[in-house]
Symmetry: C2
Subunit: 430 residues, 2 copies
């Protein structure tokens, strides 16, 4: 955060001006910023941790919930993790200027679709100071300028990180305003959301309330990262051991992330293996809730209510629903799920896999793999800035390319359209 | 338009239900709808023209401006043009299911990014009944359901076209609600713009006022087709004859379309050729306005005011601005233009061309070619549904692919993330 923060419109203008320079900045220069920041995270570790600890103390004193205080932590291990990630992002290919597609036109012109940055990205997020490093590096490497507004609880730590961003940009000879870390009151955030001439995209990250409120108020396009109500569907002929392993991994490895699984949908033909599945969950401390069909197979399962099918527990709780066939499973997932990440476990080569991947309307659909693989790393992005639940622009895990737009570049040789037929003119004008 | 129109939420729900079927409809079945509609446009030509003529009479009686009445026309020639375009769209490749990219992961999983429809598209447009055919066919061929709300002046003609859409969908065995043509009051349009769970994208086409009003009211993402303040920049060493031809073609061929040129920016070194350029414009009936520099070279040019640089004349008027170098030209274009379509005319292989295409922040940038080539046909889309001035999702001319999203399809073999290192877990959770 700049020591004296600019008025809202001025800071948006500064971001726009910086974005013009960033759009054509050399890859080496952008990487130099990332590596400089990396060194500063190392060299100024004590200062960062001190600020973060002050934030955490203040949060605890203000009776902020314990799990939120935990998310606020930016300790030495987390700093190490960011240092590794900065090196990784510096090593990724620069998406700017890459040719998405090209063609030679019949009339002799050459046309190419070339990747360009979006311009100015405004991130609004809660607590978690590591986003200040992560989102900033994604925006910068993809040639964008950004305005980063973290939670007020992380104010002290973000102030330090904002200063390090400025110092690193300056050291590399790029505009300091390319990454602006701001505190910004709610009123200022709302005012920024009106600057659709100066800001190109808003990415809110946090609870559903934050995202809804940003979407409602914004005149700027919003890329949403909503909840994940993710499923594992176990087909009748699935290998029971593999099915149970995938279900456990999807639920228990990181229960609090958005691609953790919340509901197992099982084919009635899998019923004989339900006791083993329930037992496996319980051995990991998972509370199991089930529909009537499931309770027939395992009577001591807690009855699931209608609201269980739409619940994002983010906790060691799972609901299980029994269905007569794959079509019913797909229908359940498309109706109650959040179109995020869903898996089918089935026999290799089964027709159900094809039906599932084609009909389940989710950003990531998997066959015989854990929902944990909804992950930028696994999908070749090297890393990810988030997981979009939108269909517009980017869907699923977002890497560097997902923060770009494109332009058409056409090379002619004195070409005019006038030679074209009247029919074409009429067509084009109609 | 359905004979009795459904309440807003019901028609959005019907569109969502239809979109589920359309998403996996076979290419042949979708093409059958287009060809059936084509036959119906032929067979029911008299009925369509009669309805259109009634609309035009009513508009004239209601003192609608003459140019708007003209835009309302859907005469026999325009019907022929739509018939050709339906055949063309039927012949285009189906974007749904095509693999955008794929990779083999180190862990043995295969991951692909596969094109899927967006879902439900809501088009809001003014007058022009041909959009009812054109937008409907693009949405349908790309596997989307759509709600088409044309101008109230075109109500009678659109009612007939809506009926033909329903009949064609039914004949091909696809849901009739896949293309719903509605009249819809302003209140109903506003209510539809709140249905972000049922509608995926809104495309307003028409005047700036319409687009602003839709953007302001919509909870759904909006893809904007704003004005084109397009430029031809003539470099010092441009071939004078080619430069004049490109400038004339860009201005005069179709002055009322969004990619028609409004301002010529000339390098001071081109000044000796300014009299010829002005003369050429005047010989085509174009009124010429110029900055002081231009008026020094051609004294009888009308002085251009500041507002001329941002004007979208859409008429036989042109403004000319003199600049000292390419950087100043780019600055003028990025500052006053609308980031739509801009051309540089320069010597083949000139460094200025590279600078121009890289630094001008527009959807389409051309070298030595008329702005008329901002055109889906020229860019290999076969045809276009419109020209986006957004950077989010689609930019520039939009064809079928631009009406799609994607999903990641991952094929595993019992893969779980649990085997991964603790470092990875920490990374992912942070």
């Amino acid at each position: 955060m700049s020591e004296q923060e600019l008025p809202v419109e001025e800071l948006a203008r500064a971001a726009r001006a910086a974005s013009r320079v960033m759009a054509t900045a050399a890859t080496d220069q952008k990487n130099a910023v990332l590596r400089c920041l990396k060194e500063k995270l190392e060299a100024r570790r004590a200062e960062i941790i001190e600020a973060n600890e002050a934030d955490m103390r203040a949060a605890a004193e203000n009776s902020v919930a314990a799990n939120l205080v935990k998310r606020l932590s930016f300790n030495s291990a987390k700093i190490d993790s960011r240092i590794r990630s900065l090196e990784k992002i510096a090593a990724l290919p620069d998406p700017v200027g890459s040719v998405i597609s090209s063609r030679q036109c019949e009339n002799g012109m050459a046309a190419a679709r070339v990747r360009v940055p979006l311009g100015v990205i405004f991130m609004v997020y809660e607590a978690r100071p590591h986003v200040t490093v992560n989102a900033g590096s994604f925006c910068l490497k993809s040639g964008n300028a950004c305005i980063l507004r973290g939670g007020s609880e992380a104010r002290r730590c973000n102030t330090v990180l904002g200063r390090l961003w400025r110092e690193s940009l300056e050291a590399a000879g790029l505009p300091e305003d390319a990454v602006q870390v701001i505190a910004g009151s709610h009123e200022e955030v709302e005012a920024l959301l009106q600057e659709d001439e100066l800001i190109d995209l808003v990415i809110p990250r946090g609870g559903e309330k934050l995202i809804h409120s940003v979407t409602e108020k914004s005149k700027i396009p919003v890329l949403k990262h909503f909840a994940g109500v993710c499923h594992v569907y176990i087909d009748a002929d699935a290998d029971p051991a593999a099915a149970i392993e995938i279900a456990l991994d999807s639920k228990c490895l990181m229960p609090a992330v958005c691609n953790a699984m919340e509901t197992v949908v099982v084919h009635a033909g899998f019923a004989p293996h339900l006791p083993a599945l329930v037992e496996a969950f319980r051995s990991q401390g998972v509370e199991v809730r089930g529909c009537e069909g499931v309770r027939k197979a395992v009577p001591d399962v807690i009855p699931a209510m209608e609201e269980d099918w739409t619940a994002e527990y983010l906790d060691l709780i799972v609901s299980i629903r029994m269905v007569p066939d794959t079509a019913a499973a797909i229908d359940h997932i498309n109706t109650y799920g959040s179109h995020h990440t869903d898996t089918i476990v089935t026999r290799a080569g089964a027709a159900a896999a094809e039906q599932f991947t084609s009909e389940v309307d989710s950003g990531v659909v998997l066959v015989n793999a854990s929902t944990m693989f909804c992950d930028g790393e696994s999908l070749g992005m090297g890393a990810e800035i988030g997981i979009s639940t939108d269909k517009i622009h980017a869907r699923g895990p977002m890497g560097l390319e997902e923060l770009t737009s494109y332009k058409f570049v056409i090379q002619g040789n004195g070409h005019t359209m006038g030679d074209y037929s009247e029919a074409h003119k009429e067509e084009a004008a109609s």
